[in-house]
C-alpha cells in the first residue's frame, strides 16, 4: 500500500468542499496529479494544491492507497466522499459529510467530525475517535435510504438524529447520544454505551437499538416485552426488551409481524 500525505498549508476563508479527497480519486496518480484535482471554496473551483501540500504517491488502485490528512481541516467537507476501498486517516477535527456514501475501505478520524458523517454509507469501516455531530449514518435530506451497511464506531459522543432512516449495518457509540435516535429506521443495529435522551426509535419499523445507560424519556410507542440476557459488543448483561414503534406500519415476514427492538441494560 502506498501512502499520500496531504497537509493543509493555506486554510480556506470559506468552507472547502473536498469531494475529491478519497482513495478512489487519488488512485493511480502522482503527487503532482493529485495536487491538480479540483476542490471548491464557495463558488470558486481551484486545484487541491492551492490549499494542501501533497507528498507521496497513490497506489494503482483505491485498495492500494492510503491517505493521511494533516493540519487544520476543520473547515473541510466531504473527506472520504464515496470511498470504496483503501485507507484514510484524518488527524484533526473536520467538517460535514466525512465518509458520506462510502462503500468500502477504512476511514479513521482522530478528532471530532461534524454532521452527516457516513451519510447513506453502504460498506467499510468509519471510526471517529472524538465526537460525531448530528445525522451520523443517516439519510441525505429528503431521502429515505440511510446507512445500509458497514460499521461506524464513535469513541466519544454523537449528536441528534443518529441513524435516521438506517436500513442496515452497525453503529457503536461509546458515549452519549442526543434526541431522535434511529428515527424511521428499517434495519441495522445501533449500540449506545452511554445515555440517550428522548425520541429513541420514533417511527422505527425494523432494526435494533441497545442502550447501556439511561433513556431520558421513553417513546410511548414502545411496548415492554420482558427481559433477556444478552451479549452485546462483548458485554454480557440483562436487558429490558421493548418492541415498537406501535404507531408505525408493521411489516410481516414469513407470517410474523416485524417490530423494531429496543434493549435497555438493566
Amino acid at each position: 500500500m502506498d501512502t499520500v500525505t496531504i497537509t493543509m498549508k493555506n486554510p480556506p476563508a470559506l468552507y472547502l468542499e473536498a469531494d475529491n479527497v478519497s482513495p478512489d480519486a487519488f488512485a493511480g496518480k502522482t503527487a503532482a496529479q493529485i495536487a491538480e484535482l479540483h476542490v471548491h471554496e464557495g463558488n470558486t473551483t481551484s486545484p487541491l494544491g492551492k490549499y494542501f501540500d501533497v507528498s507521496g504517491s497513490a497506489g494503482a488502485t483505491a485498495a492500494e492507497t492510503k491517505i493521511i490528512v494533516k493540519g487544520d481541516v476543520k473547515k473541510v467537507k466531504y473527506l472520504g466522499f464515496k470511498m470504496s476501498a483503501g485507507e484514510m486517516v484524518i488527524e484533526g477535527n473536520t467538517d460535514l459529510y466525512v465518509g458520506a456514501w462510502m462503500t468500502g475501505g477504512k476511514l479513521l478520524a482522530k478528532g471530532n467530525v461534524e454532521a452527516f458523517a457516513g451519510t447513506a454509507m453502504k460498506g467499510g469501516e468509519l471510526t471517529i475517535e472524538g465526537n460525531a455531530g448530528n445525522y451520523l449514518g443517516a439519510a441525505y435530506r429528503g431521502d429515505w435510504r440511510g446507512m445500509s451497511g458497514g460499521r461506524i464506531l464513535v469513541k466519544g459522543n454523537a449528536g441528534s438524529d443518529i441513524g435516521m432512516y438506517m436500513t442496515g449495518g452497525e453503529m457503536v457509540i461509546n458515549g452519549n447520544v442526543d434526541v431522535h435516535l434511529c428515527t424511521h429506521a428499517e434495519g441495522g443495529k445501533v449500540i449506545v454505551k452511554g445515555n440517550a435522551r428522548s425520541k429513541v426509535g420514533g417511527q422505527m419499523v425494523e432494526g435494533t437499538i441497545y442502550i447501556f445507560g439511561t433513556i431520558e424519556t421513553m417513546m410511548p410507542g414502545f411496548k415492554p416485552n420482558g427481559e433477556i440476557e444478552l451479549e452485546v459488543d462483548g458485554v454480557k448483561a440483562r436487558f429490558a426488551h421493548f418492541i415498537g414503534d406501535m404507531g408505525e406500519r408493521h411489516k410481516k415476514k414469513k407470517g410474523q409481524v416485524v417490530y423494531a427492538n429496543l434493549y435497555k441494560k438493566i
Binding site: R141, G142, D143
Partner: protein, 570 residues
C-alpha cells in the same frame, strides 16, 4: 434573421411523405422556405438524419405540483446538478429538473414544443411563471376540467353551451391550451375520501357520473372547435384489471366526430395508455392488455393515444389523480404530498422506483413498448413517458432505442430478474417489429402536432411551417452496430433550430431562442348565465377574488401566441 440551408441530410418528414431521401432544408425569417440566397449559412448534414423539431404532447414540467416535487425531493438534485456553462444557467434535478434544465434537455434532444399536461386553473400564474422560465421550447398548458364544479353542475343538466362558455372563459383567463380530464369525478370524490373507479360511479354530492363528464366535455370541445381534443387520463389508473375501465372510457367517444379548422381528426386523446392497459386481478396475476386496448384504438379513428413508457428509473410520480397517489404511497411507503385545489382539482406526489428486479415494473416496461408496436397508425400513437410519472423525459432516446431495436429489447428482457414472468404476462418477447425513422417522425413530430391542432405550424418541414428542425448524428444508410448508438444519437442533436434560430450545436446550447406560450383564445356568444355563475362562485367559495385569478399579460405570459377560435356562430 439569418438564412440557413441544411444540406444533404436524410430527411424524414411525414407531412410531405419524405422517407429518408437526401434533401436540403432551407430556413429564412423563422420559417421553412423553398430556397435561400447564396449567402445562407450552410449546415452540412451529410450522413445525418434530419427531422422537424419534436413535439411533446404530455409531460408535467411546470406548475405547483412539479415544484412541490422539487421542494420535497432535495435528493432528486443530489448528484444531478449541472453548473453554469456557456449559454446555460445552472440546473439540477433528475426526475424533476429545474425549469432551465428542462428547456435545455428538451432542446438538446431535438424537441421544440412541449405541453404541460395538467394545469390547476387556480394556480395558472405559477404554471406560467415556470413556463416563462423554461427556455427555448414553445409551451402550452392544459387546464384540468374533469373535477371542476362548474363543469359538473352544467353537465349534470347536459348544458353543453354553458360548459363551452365556461371553458372559453377559463382558457382565456388561465392562458390554457386544451381541455384536460384527470380521473373524471374521482378527484372530486377524493375530497370526500372516495374515488370513482368506473365510468358509472356517481360523484358524491354532484349526482353525475364520469361517463357524463367525459361525453359532455367532448361535446363542449367540439362545440368550440378547439385545436386539441378532450385529453383524458381515465378512471382506475394503474390497477390490475383497469383496461376494462379504459375500454369503457374509449367507448364514450363513439359517435362523436371532430369539428375544427385545424385538421385534427380525433375527439379523444387517451394519455399514458400504458398505465391503463393492465389485466389481472392482483399484482400476482398482473398482465398486459395492450392488445385489447390497441385493437380498439386501431379500429376507432376518432381516438389518438400516447404511450407513457416506463423507463426503469427512480422517479417522482405526480398527478391530479389525488386518490391514486394515496393508493401508491400505501404500496411503496414513500413520502406522500397531497393538495386540494378548491373547486377545481387536487394533486398528489409520491417518489417511485421502477426496479428491473420487480416483476410488476418489468411488465409495465413491456406494456409501454407493446402499445406503440401494436398500433397500426403511428400518426395516432405518440411516445411519452408521462414525465415524470413513468420516467423522466430525458429517457426518450432510450425508449427510441427499445422501439427501434429488438436486440435492445432482448438485452433488457434478459436482464430482468423475473424474465419468465415478463414473457408469460406480455407479448413483448414475440414482437419482432422495429419502428423505422419515418414512423418515429410520425410518433414524435407529425402525429402529436396534428393531434394538438398544430399541424400547420410544427411537426413538419413543409415550406411555410415554423423552422423547427433537428439534425441527428445518425446515418440511416449504415447498419446499427450497437443499439446504444441509437440512444446516443437521439440524446444530443448535431444541430437544432427553433423558429429559425439555431439553439443547439453539437449537443450544446448556443441560443435560448424566442420561447412562446401557446394558448387558445376561444370566442363564444355573450353568456350572462355563466358570467353570473363565475361571479357567484368567486364570492361564495373561492379563497381569492377574480381579480387575482387571471394570468395577466406581460409578467406571466411575456411572449404569447394565441390560436384563435370563433364559436360565436355555432
Amino acid at each position: 434573421m439569418s438564412e440557413y440551408i441544411i444540406k444533404n441530410g436524410h430527411v424524414y418528414d411525414p407531412v410531405q411523405g419524405i422517407k429518408g431521401d437526401k434533401a436540403d432544408v432551407a430556413i429564412k425569417a423563422g420559417k421553412i422556405v423553398d430556397k435561400v440566397g447564396s449567402g445562407a449559412k450552410v449546415i452540412d448534414a451529410k450522413g445525418k438524419t434530419v427531422m422537424a423539431g419534436a413535439v411533446e404532447i404530455h409531460a408535467h414540467i411546470a406548475g405547483p405540483k412539479v415544484n412541490l416535487g422539487r421542494i420535497y425531493r432535495p435528493e432528486d438534485k443530489l448528484f444531478s446538478c449541472t453548473p453554469t456553462k456557456g449559454m446555460e444557467r445552472m440546473g439540477g434535478g433528475a426526475s424533476i429538473p429545474t425549469t432551465f434544465k428542462t428547456g435545455y434537455e428538451y432542446a438538446k434532444m431535438g424537441y421544440t414544443t412541449a405541453m404541460e399536461a395538467a394545469m390547476p386553473p387556480m394556480f395558472s400564474r405559477h404554471v406560467h411563471e415556470e413556463i416563462r422560465d423554461t427556455p427555448i421550447i414553445d409551451e402550452g398548458a392544459f387546464p384540468v376540467f374533469g373535477n371542476n364544479w362548474f363543469v359538473m353542475e352544467y353537465l349534470k343538466n347536459h348544458e353543453v353551451e354553458n360548459t363551452a362558455a365556461y371553458i372559453a372563459w377559463l382558457l382565456r383567463v388561465t392562458k390554457g391550451y386544451a381541455v384536460k380530464v384527470v380521473n373524471p369525478g374521482g378527484t372530486e370524490a377524493w375530497a370526500w375520501g372516495l374515488n370513482c373507479l368506473s365510468v358509472n360511479d356517481p360523484v358524491p354530492y354532484f349526482d353525475i357520473t364520469p361517463a357524463e363528464i367525459v361525453k359532455g366535455l367532448i361535446e363542449a370541445n367540439e362545440y368550440l372547435g378547439l385545436p386539441h381534443s378532450m385529453h383524458i387520463h381515465p378512471n382506475n389508473l394503474g390497477n390490475p384489471g383497469c383496461y376494462e375501465t379504459t375500454l369503457d372510457t374509449l367507448k364514450l367517444a363513439e359517435g362523436f366526430k371532430a369539428k375544427n379548422k385545424f385538421g385534427r381528426e380525433q375527439v379523444m386523446h387517451l394519455t399514458h395508455t400504458q398505465f391503463h392497459s393492465y389485466g389481472g386481478t392482483n399484482w400476482g396475476d398482473f398482465e398486459s392488455k395492450a392488445k385489447e386496448v390497441t385493437d380498439y384504438v386501431n379500429k376507432n379513428k376518432n381516438i389518438t393515444i400516447d404511450t407513457g413508457n416506463v423507463t426503469l428509473d427512480e422517479t417522482t410520480t405526480m398527478t391530479a389523480d389525488g386518490p391514486f397517489e394515496h393508493h401508491l404511497t400505501g404500496l411503496n411507503h414513500l413520502k406522500w404530498a397531497n393538495v386540494d385545489v378548491e373547486l377545481e382539482t387536487a394533486a398528489g406526489v409520491v417518489p417511485y422506483i421502477y426496479s428491473p428486479n420487480i416483476s410488476v415494473c418489468a411488465i409495465q416496461w413491456a406494456i409501454g413498448l407493446e402499445i406503440p408496436l401494436m398500433m397500426k397508425d403511428p400518426m395516432r400513437c405518440y411516445i411519452t413517458t408521462d414525465h415524470p410519472n413513468a420516467g423522466p423525459f430525458t429517457r426518450y432516446p432510450r425508449v427510441i432505442k427499445w422501439l427501434m431495436s429488438k436486440k435492445a429489447r432482448d438485452t433488457q428482457i434478459n436482464a430482468f430478474k423475473h424474465k419468465d414472468k415478463v414473457l408469460s404476462q406480455t407479448a413483448i418477447g414475440t414482437m419482432d417489429k422495429e419502428i423505422s425513422l419515418y414512423e418515429l417522425a410520425q410518433m414524435t413530430r407529425a402525429g402529436p402536432a396534428k393531434s394538438l391542432g398544430l399541424a400547420g405550424m410544427c411537426g413538419g418541414l413543409k415550406p411555410g411551417m415554423d423552422a423547427d428542425v433537428a439534425v441527428y448524428d445518425f446515418n440511416p444508410e449504415k447498419p446499427v452496430a450497437n443499439p446504444d448508438d441509437i440512444e446516443k444519437a437521439f440524446s444530443r442533436c448535431a444541430a437544432v433550430f427553433k423558429s429559425g434560430v439555431q439553439v443547439v450545436q453539437n449537443g450544446e446550447i448556443v441560443s435560448t431562442g424566442h420561447k412562446r406560450t401557446l394558448w387558445v383564445n376561444a370566442k363564444v356568444r355573450d353568456n350572462p348565465q355563466v358570467v353570473r355563475d363565475i361571479n357567484e362562485k368567486f364570492l361564495k367559495y373561492y379563497s381569492m377574488t377574480q381579480a387575482n385569478y387571471e394570468a395577466l399579460g406581460h409578467h406571466f405570459v411575456p411572449n404569447p401566441y394565441a390560436l384563435e377560435v370563433d364559436a360565436t356562430n355555432v
